[in-house]
Symmetry: C2
Subunit: 116 residues, 2 copies
DNA sequence: TTAATATATGAACAGTTATTCATATATTGA
DNA sequence: TCAATATATGAATAACTGTTCATATATTAA
């Protein structure tokens, strides 16, 4: 690969792509959002929280796995601002961070023709 | 953790969550779609292809990295049906698989308030 | 204060993944 | 057919990620 004598059309697209490419930082931010919802165990937690807020005990009940594993995943989802937590006595009650989270999930599934 | 004497409300949510939890297979399918677009290098390729179809040479030019690395990522995006390819002489020309891909990207960015 | 419950977390390990390097395949022009 | 160009790919390595195990923290009830 040294040069590419391809049609001028594609070259212009490449120029435009380079010019309009978001910075590393922005790309990373978008990627990290998708990454947060790209793991089955985390996705299950989000699906579970569609029903409303729940404490860890019940999340574990709903999604399976160990308390520790779920707790670690909750931390990741929380860091990604997809869920929020509040303490209620001995329990920590989790819920979806805002309506955008669910919207992204459902819109994506609809667009990609996933029956969820 | 043995029992959870939490409010009945949360318990009902847990029951509903378990009942409405999609099967392992469906969750995995959704997760794999998100995974395909959760890596910065792949995300850049998709952003580049917003401008229109491009051959590998120009994609490399637009997103950076080596030809080999880009080619590997193109394979992954193609396997995930997010991009499609056609041969044009010596070149392979790639483009977004359909309008849904772009829609998901843009909707997500809009919802998450990412200026992309 | 002590015991029990609920949740979080650090370290270690296993599995996964992105990149690199070398090389292979395919197309074109001479 | 041969050389050059464009792209793909297998293997190896390094980095990352999810789970487990043991343990720590925080709250409540006794």
């Amino acid at each position: 690969m040294t040069t590419c004598d391809h049609e001028e059309l594609h070259h212009l697209a490449a120029e435009a792509a380079k010019a309009n490419m978001p910075g590393e930082e922005d790309v990373g931010r978008v990627a990290s959002v998708f990454k947060a919802i790209s793991e089955p165990s985390r996705l299950k937690i989000l699906f579970a929280l569609r029903q409303g807020e729940m404490c860890v005990f019940h999340i574990v009940e709903a999604v399976g796995g160990t308390q520790s594993a779920v707790s670690h995943q909750l931390r990741i989802l929380r860091d990604a601002r997809m869920i929020k937590a509040r303490r209620d006595g001995q329990n920590i009650v989790y819920s979806l961070a805002d309506e955008h989270v669910l919207a992204v999930l459902e819109l994506t599934c609809a667009h990609l023709n996933c029956k969820i």
